[in-house]
C-alpha cells in the first residue's frame, strides 16, 4: 500500500452532500457577484441613482435583513439538533426558518406592490415620460437582483421543507439538514450585500 495515497486522503474527507453544496454555492456567488459588479459600476457611473434609492422602503429592508439573519441562526440551531439526531428539535427550528422565509417574502411582496404603485417597474415607463432614462436602469437592476434573490429564498425554503420531512419520516439523512442549511446561509449572505447596496446608499 503506497503511502502517498494514504497521506492524500486526509484532506478530502468531506461528506459528498456538503461538498456538492459548497461547489454550488461558489457558482451562485459568481452569478450574484456578476450582478453586483454591474450594479456597483453603474452606481459609480450615474450619481442620479442615489435619488432613486431614496424611494426604496428602508424600514422594510431593515426588517427583512433582521429576519434573514435570525433565520440563519435558526438553521444552525437545526443543524446542531441534527448532529444530536434530535428529530423534534430539527423540525421545530426548520419550521421557524420557513416561517422567517414566508415573512421575508411577504414583506418583499408589500414593497413591490408599493413601488409598482409609485410607477417604478421593470421598465418604468413613468420615469421615461419624465425624461429620466438612466434612472429606469436602477429599477431594472433592483427588480432583477431582489427578484433573483427572492427565487433563491423560495428554493431554499422548499429544500429545507422537503429535507426536514424526509428526515422526520426516515429518522436518518441528518447530514442533509446541514447541506440545505448551507444553501440557506448563502441566501442570507447575498442579502447581506444586497441590502446596503440597494437601500442604504443614497
Amino acid at each position: 500500500m503506497n503511502t502517498t495515497s494514504l497521506s492524500k486522503i486526509a484532506w478530502n474527507r468531506i461528506p459528498q452532500a456538503r461538498f456538492a453544496m459548497w461547489t454550488l454555492i461558489a457558482g451562485e456567488f459568481v452569478i450574484f457577484g456578476g450582478l453586483i459588479v454591474v450594479y456597483l459600476l453603474n452606481r459609480m457611473k450615474y450619481p442620479g441613482w442615489g435619488e432613486m434609492a431614496m424611494h426604496t422602503n428602508v424600514v422594510a429592508g431593515t426588517i427583512n435583513t433582521f429576519v434573514l439573519l435570525t433565520s440563519s441562526f435558526f438553521v444552525v440551531k437545526a443543524h446542531e439538533a441534527a448532529v444530536k439526531k434530535n428529530v423534534e428539535k430539527v423540525k421545530f427550528w426548520i419550521w421557524l426558518t420557513i416561517l422567517c422565509a414566508l415573512i421575508f417574502l411577504g414583506i418583499k411582496a408589500y414593497e413591490y406592490t408599493h413601488e409598482i404603485h409609485l410607477g417604478f417597474t421593470l421598465s418604468s415607463p413613468a420615469l421615461l415620460e419624465q425624461g429620466k432614462h438612466v434612472e429606469t436602469l436602477y429599477w431594472a437592476l433592483y427588480y432583477t437582483m431582489t427578484g433573483l434573490h427572492g427565487l433563491h429564498v423560495v428554493g431554499g425554503a422548499l429544500a429545507l421543507f422537503f429535507v426536514m420531512r424526509n428526515v422526520a419520516k426516515t429518522k436518518s439523512y441528518f447530514h442533509r439538514i446541514e447541506a440545505a442549511g448551507l444553501y440557506w446561509h448563502m441566501v442570507d449572505i447575498i442579502w447581506i450585500f444586497l441590502f446596503p447596496l440597494i437601500y442604504l446608499i443614497h
Binding site: 456597483l40 459600476l41 457611473k45 439573519l69 435570525t70 440563519s72
Partner: protein, 116 residues
C-alpha cells in the same frame, strides 16, 4: 438490484467518508449577537450624509458580516483547503471582472448624435 450512490459496504474501500462527521461548533448565539450589533451599526452608519463614506463603511461591514456567517454558521473554519480554494477562485474571478469592466463603464459619458 442496482447499486447506485454509495456502494453498499464499500465506504472504507472507496474512501467515501461517513456522512455526519463531526466538526467543531462555535457558540452560535454569540456569533448571532455580534451579527446583530454589526447590523445595527450598518443601519446607523447609513445616516451619515456623505454617500461615499456610507458606502465604504457599510460595504466593509457587510464583508465582515458575510465572513462571520461563512466561517461560523457554515463552518468554513473546519472545512478542508479545497473549499477555501474554490471560494477564493470565485472572488478572484469577480475581482477580474470588476477591474476589466471599470474602464469601459465608469469614465464613459454617453453620446448621441444631435438631431440624428
Amino acid at each position: 438490484m442496482s447499486t447506485h450512490g454509495k456502494p453498499q459496504g464499500l465506504e472504507h474501500e472507496l474512501w467515501v467518508p461517513a456522512e455526519d462527521d463531526y466538526h467543531g461548533h462555535p457558540n452560535y448565539l454569540k456569533v448571532y449577537i455580534y451579527l446583530l450589533i454589526l447590523f445595527a451599526i450598518t443601519v446607523f452608519a447609513s445616516l451619515i450624509p456623505n454617500p461615499m463614506i456610507v458606502f465604504i463603511v457599510v460595504f466593509s461591514i457587510s464583508i465582515i458580516k458575510a465572513s462571520m456567517v461563512i466561517l461560523n454558521f457554515m463552518h468554513l473554519k473546519w472545512e478542508p483547503n479545497i473549499i477555501w480554494y474554490m471560494l477564493l477562485l470565485a472572488l478572484i474571478a469577480l475581482a477580474f471582472l470588476f477591474l476589466g469592466l471599470y474602464p469601459d463603464t465608469v469614465p464613459i459619458e454617453r453620446f448621441f448624435v444631435p438631431n440624428g
